[in-house]
Symmetry: C2
Subunit: 296 residues, 2 copies
Amino acid sequence: MIKIAVVGYGNIGRYAAGAILSAPDMELSGFVRSSDTSPIPEFPGIPVVKTIEELGKIDIAILSLPSRSVKERAVSYLEKGISTVDSYDIHKDIFELRCTLDAAAKKGNARAVVSTGWDPGTNSVIRAILEACTPKGLTYTNFGPGMSMGHTVAVKAIKGVQNALSMTIPIGTGLHRRMVYVQLAAGADFKEVSNAIKTDPYFINDETHVIQVDNVDNYIDMGHGVSLERRGTSGTTPNQTFQFIMRANNPALTSQIMVCTARAALRQAPGAYTLIELPVIDLLPGEREAIIRRLV
Amino acid sequence: MIKIAVVGYGNIGRYAAGAILSAPDMELSGFVRSSDTSPIPEFPGIPVVKTIEELGKIDIAILSLPSRSVKERAVSYLEKGISTVDSYDIHKDIFELRCTLDAAAKKGNARAVVSTGWDPGTNSVIRAILEACTPKGLTYTNFGPGMSMGHTVAVKAIKGVQNALSMTIPIGTGLHRRMVYVQLAAGADFKEVSNAIKTDPYFINDETHVIQVDNVDNYIDMGHGVSLERRGTSGTTPNQTFQFIMRANNPALTSQIMVCTARAALRQAPGAYTLIELPVIDLLPGEREAIIRRLV
């Protein structure tokens, strides 16, 4: 049995624990939380500790932490020989994170998989597969409709905003409309808030609509989706078309993929990887022969 | 530059040559044909030989041969140290082929990838990815509309049939209707032919319609497609849905994937593999860093 720790207990941590308990080859050793180590009612009997050492021998840690906290925590675990999986989602910095964690993992004889989940993650695998099918062509990744965590956090940081929800609406060819629902703080001016959002770097390049509501919580839904499209040329033959559509509970999907990635991580040589660098068969439990007979 | 030979010259061989000539890191060393070694007008200057040895040092051979001829040819090449890629498509025997070629490849210090193309092949990768996203659930692979090579050959073998085309029509949940267009031999009885087709093992379990036409060639189109669908549960969260849709020129797509698989094969340790056992990044040309930056 693979001994796994869940580090952090937000939406991803909670769903990851459920996925681990549903896996035939894994054991949930405990939760690591820096702030609150009281028992978690949803997971009775599962230890909640301040530092991972308190859980004894751990094979791998699911880092369900904000992207900006991933690097430091992963390096410290990897150097101690504890493998890690994260869902770091700042696309432009993924390769640098992989390089940093690669050195730490090799030092600690551990494995790290960076930036797994559905995007970056399984969508990256599908983009790679479609580029192999058609080396020349255009891929568009159309996100949503669904809540953007990053954009929502950016709106919440704006002065005068008490609560917010930023929805990502696909308008085709990889472009997105932002529908922003805001609940104002007492005395805030809607026009000022709306202008501040529309000129924020997160929104300035997209068509953005800001709508005032009384209670943002009434509109929150964890469903998300994607339509990933490619048209391209195989050899010298044009007009090969592909579309991948997903509709899912976002944190449930992200954390399930992280948990399968943890299994795959432990099957690799020490070092750091992105999901497209792993054989997909390694994500699945069970005998290799049975998987090949079932899926190939 | 990877030196590649194309073995056989049917539809797949012809399109594979085009894909090799379009690749930035490959060189088409020549064609191997047992019957006819006259120059091929479409590929001027490319040698056509009877045995692969006549081409000098070859890294890998694309076996564009009927499935039943793959094993013998692959074993003979692998034992000589020439790696192979095939599109063997008899699903139930794929694992056995992989085992046989694994032994031959290790003996010759070569690599084999068996059963690549779009199904088995890239669809197998997508099925594996979707099982990682939702470990519990049902996947349906709906083929077509498109020409089934295997079913067409089966019809052509029936007495009284001069020419035939068997189209695969998806009717959902992985079931298919067979629309069979037949051109009768002189003196053949349509009712007898139709009965023979409907009771053939290839057709007896499917809804099959047989239609008499004057000239089958007027109906042949190399377009094919798939709709691969899964609904399943991530952790304990149900109703996660996925659909992958492809519409393509069938031999162009199959051969392009075989050519990319040849690149990936040479990046593995000696032995035999199916596509789900390879990291997808290995299918693509160019620097690993650039691929990760572009696709992850």
